[in-house]
Each structure stands twice: as C-alpha cells, then as structure tokens.
C-alpha cells in the first residue's frame, strides 16, 4: 500500500450496529431444491453482513460474520433485522472461506481471527461447522458469539474447532430470562457447563438494561451461574445498553418495548462490574 494513514484518535465513534451488508461477497442464486440441499450440507447460509473490527468481538482485528436468524426475541436487541433467517442473503461456503483466506495476514499481525455471530450462529450449524474447520485448517483463530440457547447442536467435534466462545448470558434467573428473551435459561447453563468441562475458553458478555437486567439480585444470580466456569472464563464484558437499534425496529414494523429507554448510568454499570470482580472475574 502506498498510503499514509493519518490516525486521528479521540473523536467518539458510534456504538456499533450491524447492517453493513455482504458487500464483496457474491450472493448465490440457486434453485430451491439445490438451495435446500446446500443449506443442509453446510455449503450455503443466510448471512446478514460482515465487518472487520478491532477489539470488539474477541482479541485483535477480526472478521465478524453476522448470521441471519435467531431463536430468541430479546426485547433490547439492537439488530432485530438479524432475527429472521429470510432477511439474510445467501452466501456460499467457498465465498466466505476465500474472504477468510484473504485476511490471514490481518489476523496474524493483529492477533485476531474470525468471529461467527448473528443472529444466532448455531441456527445454521452445518455451515458454521464447515467455516470453523476451514479456518482452523488455515491456522486462523476462531470464535463464536452465541447466547448458548442452541448449545446442544454444537457437538464436541464442532467445538474442537472453536478457540473462544463469547457467551451472552442475558439474565440470571429462569423468570427474568424468559421475560427478556422469550426462551428458557437452562440450555445456556448446560452449554456453559459443557464448555467448562471441555476447557473451552469463554468470554462472558452481559448487557445492562435498566429495569430489565440491572438489579443487584439479577447480577448476583448471573455471577452465581457462571461461578462454576471460572477456570475457563477469561473475562467478563459488561456492556451498557444503548438505544441505537430503535430505528431498525421501526423500519421492520416491529413493536419495540424499550422505546426511548435510557442507557444505564455509569454508576450502575460500575456497580455491576464490581459485582463480577468481587467473584474474582477479570471484568471490563
């Protein structure tokens, strides 16, 4: 490259939302029957977008791929356009693998890799499995960003190709989890237990949503839940809720329960972090 890079640090960037699209990846066009076969075999997936990010979805600079489709309906979701698989665009395995290959130098020089996110990556496990395996064969660090709700579909062979799991634990009790996501909590706990037993590295993620997840008791419950996984949990990332997904909900004509909700106060976020730190977790 012949350019100069003039890094002006200091101006805040917007909180990140997906929605960037699959620019550069050819969209596949297949007959319906062929398409279904390709999806079954993990050669085709419905993808929302991709992005090259730093220090966001795991270590270093990473190619984050947002899969379309999610079984949860989190009230605070900031990417509701990834909830339904039909809103994604078809991308072929080789297309994505080629892009990963192109970025190997970016990954190796920055200590990064790929992160399969969503939506819910485990909604399309066959494709994810193939991508992860191809990445590992190229020596690329791999991460999945998941709620763990579908953790059962990730068998041991699948997890053998995963270096890091970003586990978004949402909430601490069955009740609050159900209210927040529409689904039960237990599968996530089961998945966490499996990861701990296998020794798969985990980063816990938790979004502080005022009135929904921020109570001291709820955070204690989460801390309690994740305590047994201590030896595999490298860090806990506490993320303040933001309202930047609102226009997406509107655009999709979906009811947004957190309309005009405010982000948590600095004090609340810090209190939450302290709760995790008190349990000995490296918390950011």
């Amino acid at each position: 490259m012949g350019e100069s890079i003039d890094l002006r640090l200091g101006t805040p960037i917007e909180n990140r939302r997906t929605g960037a699209g699959i620019e550069g990846m050819a969209e596949a066009e297949l007959e319906r029957s062929q398409r279904l076969a390709a999806i079954r075999e993990g050669r085709l997936a419905s993808i929302h977008s991709w992005e090259l990010v730093t220090a966001v979805d795991g270590p270093g600079t990473r190619l984050t791929v947002f899969f379309s489709g999610c079984p949860l309906r989190c009230v605070y979701c900031h990417n509701p356009d990834t909830m339904e698989m039909r809103r994604g665009q078809d991308v072929q395995l080789e297309e994505l693998v080629r892009r990963i290959k192109r970025y190997r130098r970016v990954f190796s020089s920055s200590g990064g890799g790929i992160t399969l996110s969503g939506g819910e990556v485990l909604m399309q496990p066959a494709f994810a499995r193939n991508v992860l395996q191809a990445a590992k064969e190229m020596g690329v660090h791999t991460a999945i960003d998941t709620s763990g709700y579908l953790g059962a579909v990730a068998d041991d062979a699948f997890l053998d190709n995963v270096d890091l799991v970003l586990l978004d634990v949402k909430s601490g009790t069955e009740e609050s989890y159900k209210a927040l996501t529409g689904r039960p909590l237990q599968p996530t706990l089961d998945f966490g237990n499996r990861l701990a037993a296998r020794g798969t590295t985990v980063w816990i993620r938790f979004v502080v949503v005022p009135g929904w997840t921020d109570s001291e008791e709820n955070v204690e419950a989460i801390a309690e839940n994740i305590a047994p996984w201590k030896q595999v949990v490298e860090r806990v990332e506490v993320l303040p809720f933001h309202n930047m997904g609102q226009d997406k909900w509107d655009a999709l004509g979906m009811e947004y329960k957190l309309r005009d909700a405010q982000p948590p106060s600095k004090e609340t976020v810090e209190r939450v972090r302290e709760q995790f730190r008190a349990r000995g977790f490296m918390t950011y």
Binding site: G2, S4, D6, R8, A26, E51, L52, E95
Partner: protein, 709 residues
Amino acid sequence: MTSATTERPTDAVAGGDAWEGFEPGPWQESIDLRDFILRNYTPYEGDASFLAGPTEKTLKVWDHLEKNYLSEERRRRVYDVDTKPPADIDAFPAGYICPEDDVIVGLQTDVPLKRAMMPNGGWRMVETAIKEAGKEPDPEIKKVFTRYRKTHNDGVFDIYTPRIRAARSSHIITGLPDAYGRGRIIGDYRRLALYGADFLIAEKMAAKDAVADQPFSEHWARYREEHSEQIKALKKLVTLGEIYGLDLKRPAANAQEAVQWTYMAYLASVKSQDGAAMSLGRLSAFLDVYFERDLKAGKITESDAQEIIDALVIKLRIVRFLRTIDYDQIFSGDPYWATWSDGGMTEDGRSQVTKTSFRLLQTLRNLGPAPEPNITVFWDPKLPEGYKEFCSAISIETSSIQYESDEQIRGRWGDDAAIACCVSPMRVGKQMQFFGARVNAGKALLYAINGGRDEISGKQVTEEGEFTPVQGDGPLDFDDVWEKYEHMLDWVVGTYVEALNIIHYSHDKYAYESIEMALHDSEIVRTMGCGIAGLSIVADSLSAIKHATVTPVRDETGLIVDYITEGEFPRYGNDDDRADDIAATIVHTVMQKIKEIPMYRDAIPTQSVLTITSNVVYGKATGSFPSGHQKGTPFSPGANPENGADSHGMVASMLSVGKLDYNDALDGISLTNTITPQGLGRTKDEQVKNLVGILDAGFVMDDDCTLTN
C-alpha cells in the same frame, strides 16, 4: 548538464575535530549524508524506558511561551505582523522567547509568533493578510512590490490561458500555488551541521564554474544564475549565524551544535519562504550519531539530550506564516507541514530507529500534543517491537502521529527519503517536487454529464460544442458516461497541467527557493506533483450508474442538477472489488492522461490522492452526485471512502485503499481514520497491541489473495 567534481576547500574539509570518532568514508570527500549515516548511526532495539522527562528549563520556556504568546495568539488569530522589512534570511535581529531560551536559539523574526511579509509570491495576498490582522501595509513596501518588483503571482497571470482562467473561476481547479509559496521542497538541513557553510559554498561555487566553459543556452544561464542565488543565500545563512553568535562556517562539533546548525539551516528557509509545506526531512538517525558520541564521551546526559530535542521542537511549533483567512479555510487553519520523517529500514535491512526517534516522540509527552512538527513514521512490520509499541502508545495518547508504508517508499525512493507535506516522498537533497494542489475529479464527472456546463452556475465553461452532454431523460448508461468522463478528463487534466507548468516556471523565476536549493545537489530530480480530489465520490457514482438505476434530474434550462438513484450498488471502501476496481481505474486513467503532457523542466509526473484539509472547500463548489453526495457538502479526505460509505470497518477501508496502484499515485495516497482509544481495546496494553496489529496489517498484504469475483 554534469557538474564536475568539486575542489574542496583545504581547511574546511577536514571537519577537523568536528568529525573525530566518526567512521570515515566517501562522505568526507563529497556531500553524502546517507553514507555518513549508514556508517555511523546506532540502531536502537530497546523500549522507551531510557527516556527522560522535561527539564525545568524546558518547562519554563514552554510555559512562558504559552502564557505570553500562544494564548494571546489564539485570542487574536495573528499575534503580530512586521510590516516593515520583507522577510529574508538575515532581515531580522536576534529574538528569544525568554532569557532561558538558550538551548536551541533562533526565531523567524525578532519576536515569537510575529509574522513576516514574504511578498515574492504575490503582493495581494500579503496586503489582504496584513489588513485581516488589523494592520496597514507600509506604502513604500507596497510600491516596491506593485511597481518595481514583479512577483510570482504577476508572472503567472501574465501567462495564464483563457481556459485556465475559466477552470479556475468555476473551481474545477482550486488551491493552485499561483499566489503563495509552493513549498514541498525539503532542504537537506543536515548538510550544514555535517559540513559547515564554507564547505557547502565551495561545493556550489565549484559546481557553478564546472560549466563555465560551455556555450550559452537558456538552460546553462539558469543553472549559473540559480547557483549564484544559492551561494548568496548560504552567505546570508552565515550572517544569520553571526546574528545569534554562531559560527556556521564550520561543521557542528557536538550534539547541541548539530541540532542548532540543522535548525539554523531550516530557520533560514522559513525566514525566506512561506511554502504551503515546509518539511524538515529525516533527521533522527543523523542527529543521533552526535548524541551517541557525546553520551559515550560523558559530555551530556540523557536529560541533556532530551532537553535539546525538546528545545528544537518548541521552535518548530512556533513557526508562523502570514496567511489570509481564505487560505486558512482551504487548509483548515494555518498548518505549515514541518513533516519530520522517522523510522523505516535501510536498504540492507537494518532498522533506522535510534534513541533519537524515541526522543522525538517523547516531546509529545514532555510538551503535550501538537500538530507540528508533523511526525511521520515510516512503518514496517520489521521495525523493533519496542518502537512500534511506543509509536502506538503515543498515537493513543496524543493522536499526533502519521504513518507511511516504509517498504513502498524505500522501494521507490531509497532509504534516505522523507515526506514533504503529508504524503509526498522524495530523496532528501536530491529531489524536489513542483507542488500541484489538485484537480476536482468529482466535478469533472459532472462536467462530463453536462457537456462542460457548470452544474452550479449553469455557465458553459468549456468551449461551446466541444463536448456533448448526456442526452434524454432515461437512466444513465455506464459506458456512455465513462466515455464522456474520459473525454472530459482530457480537457480538465490538460488545463490543469498547463496551469502547473506556468506556475512553476514563474515560481522559479520570481520566488526561487535559493536556500532550500542550496541544500540540494546541483543536479536533482524534479517531480510534478499532480493530484485529484473526490475519488470516492466518482467511484461510488460510477458504481451507482453501473449497478443501480440513476435517473438525471434537469432544471428548467436542461442542466442536470440532481440524480434519483434506485437500487443498491457497491461502494468503494468495503474491500469489494466491484467498487474498488472502479476507483483504481479512475486513478490509473487520470495518471495516463497526465503522463501524455510534457512537463516543465522535464519533471517526472506523479499523482497524489490526498486532501487532508481542503475537502470543505472542494465540496462547497460542487453539485450533487449519483452516489447520493449532496451539493455543497464536504468531500471525504484523500482516498477515504465517502463519509459513512465504509460500513465494514476501518481495516476493510484500508484494504480498499490498498488496491489503488502505487505506480499510478507515486506522490502518495492518504487515508484518514478516526478511532477512539476505547475502540482499540479494554486496556492501554491491549490498545497499543491492537493498533500495532492494525498498522502491520494495513501496510503489508499478501499479493496472492485478491478477491476475484
């Protein structure tokens, strides 16, 4: 013309004691800074832990400056103007910041921040600037520069053609250096320190007379005349030294003198020229040789060394030129681009990083962040880890470092190259650039569509009937628009380069940079630094025409003033070949057209894709585009994607920019990124490592992994 070998003065040569302990070599026989540095410098592989903080004296001088001058200047815009003597190397008596200002001495005028007139570029700019600063020009001086002494600006307008005037007033070509100093020339200021003025004068005299027995030609006459100018300038430099009690005739004898001498040579330049960019060159490894020698001999401590560099940097931070408010708007303030190039590798694979490279960065901690000097690091993933991490940490703390690909520059311009202004590389002392500002490639696309009618004024700028506008009201056709664009570029580029040739002919004649050129070899390489603005807008607009449906909107006179764009289209800056290839093709096409035109003084044509500061001005004068870019809104800088169009992350935009062929843009490509430190990681350590990773990744890519769909 060849300049014969020179006869060296008998006593000055011998750098005498000044060169004691230095590894001998060809540099002793003739001017060869690179040879001196490579034989004598000490690469430093360690980390920043050896560095010293500011001394009491440094803080006192800096504090005095801030309290009495800088804060006042911020209040008034211009601290003061001297309306009496036009500036020159030896026009002003000595000046100091305060009594403690005795480490590295010398000011442009006799008072800090007081600006001097440099009317050789043109009187009107000077007069406007004086009035804007709340003063009145001296009538006698005005008479001299309007009646008796022709200026660069007068010369240019005597020659300008009608089409240049038309293009200029419709703003398709803007910011040309036709009324101010062109800059982009880096004197090799180190020469004064290593050799002393006597030696340099003797070399120039010998070069001048080496051709004395050749027959007359205009070329020959200019060569001799310019040499005379250079020799006079060097003699004035000696006088300047005397004003400050320094004997610049001899080489510098120690580290403090090496810095002082180098600064005096630079000071002479900024006392006599107000070029748009007055860059410093590549000083660290050179100066470090002297620091190492003094440190080893126990003559100075690390704290002394840092104090000397801090003192130099303080002086560099208070260089000022008399500019108009208009000029400040084009350049977003009054930067003068004291670019100090550092880092990089040698051609034989050694790191050029020295302890002085660290000391330079340390000034940003000791004195706080500042835009000048514009510290530019030639980045290579092979640079020592300690240095890479220190650069990254200082970037995060101060946002005051610019990065360039060392491999690219070294491969093309060697390992003693430096940047003039913000991206233009040149071999120090062996090469200069004719600064060409830039042509509005975005507006050229709108001219193509409208057949040379200006989309804002509605005026026919090109000759009536020379170009056919887009016909009909249907959607734009890519092939049709591209053909018209190419055709229009012939006119735009032709007009632009014609203007540049005239400007530099006139600048050499009426505002010759005698001291800067005295610190160059007698035979040098000249490049014509052409440039374009609006790359991403053209790329996205052509992509929209190709991949979406773009319907033109006409006003009542039939002029196309807006576009309705329906459907999706790939945008440049997302590592998507469909759009990035269009951008690369535009740059290539413009370069081909530039190359077809003969250049003044056989300059080598180059191109830059660079606008750091003038985007607002370009945007203001330009209409709406098929990409959705709105009339009158700022362009994105340089080779940046359109504002907001790069939705796949900064590294993806770096990779898009990387697809522009460096051979088409040898004068450099700029990409400006804004990131928060928090965006780089959770801890300082993580941020530092991630930034190093981004830079490593951005400047080196495998050749075999381009996407081919």
